[in-house]
């Protein structure tokens, strides 16, 4: 297995508040890593830095040996579109679009024929077991179903890395278990690398490796 991601001395502050203080990490291709920490420990900011959604004040983030720190916004957007799938605690589905359209959403700016785009979205929706809910809008879906749609959306452009921020944080226990099982199956099927940020040790257990984060630092 080769290295997919290497983080070296990354720092991020918001004014006087240091959110991430010199983090070092690495992730191998297909590996699952969980970052566990309490609220305010800086784990979400770290995830945003890994996704290029926040700009690091210092340090380097190498993705397949290419440093993404310092890339301009447009390059980062393109990089995310090709390499990264994002899953959020609050799902962030577009309320006016159906489940199928939400899954296809990251492909909209691509020059892909609508039929092809739809085909890929249907496959992903089927992978998360929601093909029968394709025409339903988010308001017509349960929380677990919405998160599964969000996971399908993260898969639709066939990324190498999934970044998940508290993916079960807004779900009940039973649904959380279903989502975690789904993550495990999708990893096995697609060979994806996964970074899960969570405060829940049970969620962290789905990963191959766990690191803990306190006050913006990875515990040694």
């Amino acid at each position: 297995m080769s290295e997919l991601l290497r983080v070296e001395g990354v720092r991020k502050s918001f004014g006087a508040v240091a959110a991430v203080c010199g983090v070092d990490l690495h992730l191998m291709e297909g590996e699952a890593l969980s970052i566990v920490g309490r609220s305010g420990s800086g784990k979400t900011t770290l995830l945003h830095l890994l996704a290029g959604l926040e700009e690091a004040d210092a340090g380097h983030i190498f993705y397949r040996s290419r440093d993404i720190v310092g890339l301009d916004e447009e390059s980062l957007a393109l990089w995310r579109r090709r390499e990264v799938g994002l899953v959020f605690q609050f799902f962030h589905l577009i309320p006016t679009l159906s489940a199928l359209e939400n899954v296809a959403f990251p492909l909209y700016p691509e020059r892909i024929a609508p039929a092809k785009r739809r085909e890929r979205a249907v496959v992903c929706l089927d992978q998360v077991g929601l093909a029968h809910r394709a025409t339903h809008r988010p308001s017509e879906l349960s929380g677990g179903e919405q998160q599964r749609v969000a996971i399908a959306r993260a898969l639709v452009h066939q990324p190498s890395l999934i970044l998940a921020d508290e993916p079960t944080g807004n779900l009940d226990t039973k649904t959380s278990d279903e989502i975690l099982t789904l993550f495990g199956r999708l990893r096995a099927d697609n060979g994806l690398a996964l970074v899960i940020v969570t405060h829940d040790e049970k969620v962290a257990a789905v990963a191959d490796r766990t690191v803990h984060m306190t006050d913006g630092r990875i515990d040694q």
């Binding site: 916004e73 995310r80 577009i94 359209e101 909209y108």
Partner: protein, 417 residues
């Protein structure tokens, strides 16, 4: 830019779509309707002249007669000499001239307004032929005959074959005509042939005492002019007839239509433009508010890999679509308003000078008027201008808003929630 996402946003946010589109629609409707209203009024103002087939009417102010006995000329109708008529005929843009002699006849037992006309002329009162109700109209070569206005004939108990005496000469009634068919301009009680009227006027002591009248003079000229040159023709006629000239053009009727028309005519365009701009500001406000509600969606776009220009294009297309829908809706509303305006009628006063009656007679100073449907219609140029302006203003506002929206950073949106 994704069409299905665009339509989903428009269709599934009906409140926002409706308010934004209505904003534009009201602006476009206001602009187009005002222009349609002004067009209707302008055409109404042309009706009195159009009905008599003239673009310009020329008269000359003269002296008040020494005595109101027998035939006199109303003071706004001093004689216009043959040489002057020939000069006017040679003015570039003049296509035809209809000559007439308008006179008052004061008899011991009654008063009448008489008009001498050339029955062969299609410009001027010759068109009264279309208003014939009984008998026959005057023909070239007729003499000693007259056509009576139906209202006058009824009031004076005149019928076909009766005789009317004018300054001692008897005229037999050969036809009855509805004067209102000629736009109430130079309307009279009795219509004679031009040679008969000229002879009567030339011989009248109370005409000769104040005017140096000649046998072939006229005192009202109906001029048909090439439309683009009508204003220049009017100026030339004014110049030929001198300071005492009374030259009537459609613009003269605009002025008597009153303050409402003046305001619409002068400020309608500006008010329309202002309405359009206010509407676009409303669109901007509605869209900006909608965008604030959608900042999480925009954040998501950026997070899943939409570039700034992808976001900008999508939002720009949405707002332009809203503007387009609003513009079409606005045209439809303007169409309904214009249709409704078609049911209203406008009364166009005819200046006293064009149909003078003696002030000292009961009801004599009352101006005549023509009441016609307000022919409001949508001017394609105004409609096109409204759409272009709406799209231009909407486009610029949208561009600014879309660029701002594209700058939304997802992490900031989520951090602030």
């Amino acid at each position: 830019m994704n069409i299905s996402y665009l339509f989903a946003e428009l269709r599934r946010r009906p409140g926002r779509t409706l308010i934004a589109a209505l904003n534009v629609a009201l602006g476009v409707a206001l602009f187009v309707s005002l222009q349609a209203y002004a067009t209707g009024y302008r055409e109404a103002a042309r009706a009195p002249l159009a009905e008599i087939g003239a673009d310009v009417i020329a008269q000359r102010q003269g002296a008040v007669p020494d005595a109101f006995e027998g035939i006199v000329f109303p003071h706004p109708t001093a004689p216009i000499h043959r040489a002057e008529i020939e000069s006017i005929n040679s003015v570039p843009g003049v296509e035809a001239i209809g000559e007439a002699v308008l006179f008052w006849d004061f008899e011991s037992d009654r008063f009448l307004v008489g008009l001498g006309l050339d029955p062969a002329q299609t410009v001027g009162p010759g068109r009264l032929r279309a208003g014939l109700r009984a008998g026959r109209f005057l023909e070239t070569g007729d003499s000693g005959v007259a056509v009576a206005d139906t209202t006058y004939a009824e009031q004076s108990h005149l019928t076909l074959g009766d005789s009317v005496s004018i300054a001692g000469q008897s005229f037999s009634i050969i036809g009855l005509v509805d004067t209102s068919q000629a736009g109430q301009v130079a309307s009279a009680n009795l219509y004679l042939t031009l040679p008969d009227a000229r002879a009567q006027a030339y011989a009248a002591p109370n005409v000769r005492s104040v005017f140096g009248i000649r046998a072939d003079d006229a005192n009202v000229l109906f001029i048909r002019a090439d439309s683009p040159q009508a204003t220049a023709v009017a100026e030339q006629v004014q110049s030929i007839l001198g300071q005492q000239a009374i030259v009537t053009t459609p613009r003269s009727f605009d002025q008597v239509l009153g303050a409402t028309f003046s305001v619409i005519d002068r400020f309608g365009f500006l008010v329309g433009i202002a309405g359009l701009l206010i509407a676009m500001a409303g669109l901007l406000r509605t869209t900006a508010a909608g965008l604030w509600e959608r900042r999480r969606d925009v954040g998501l776009m950026r997070a899943v890999g939409w570039r700034r220009r992808d976001v900008s294009r999508q939002l720009l297309a949405e707002m332009l679509a809203l503007t387009g829908i609003g513009a079409v809706l606005g045209l439809a509303i303007a169409g309904l308003v214009t249709f409704g305006l078609g049911f209203s009628r406008v009364t166009v006063p005819v200046p006293w000078e064009l149909s003078p009656t003696p002030h000292f007679l009961p009801g004599g100073a009352v101006n005549m008027a023509v009441t016609i449907p307000l022919g409001a219609r949508i001017d394609p140029g105004a409609a096109l201008l409204a759409i272009v302006l709406a799209l231009l203003a909407g486009g610029l506002a949208s561009l600014w808003l879309a660029r701002r929206a594209a700058g939304i950073k997802p992490a900031e949106v989520w951090r602030n929630e």
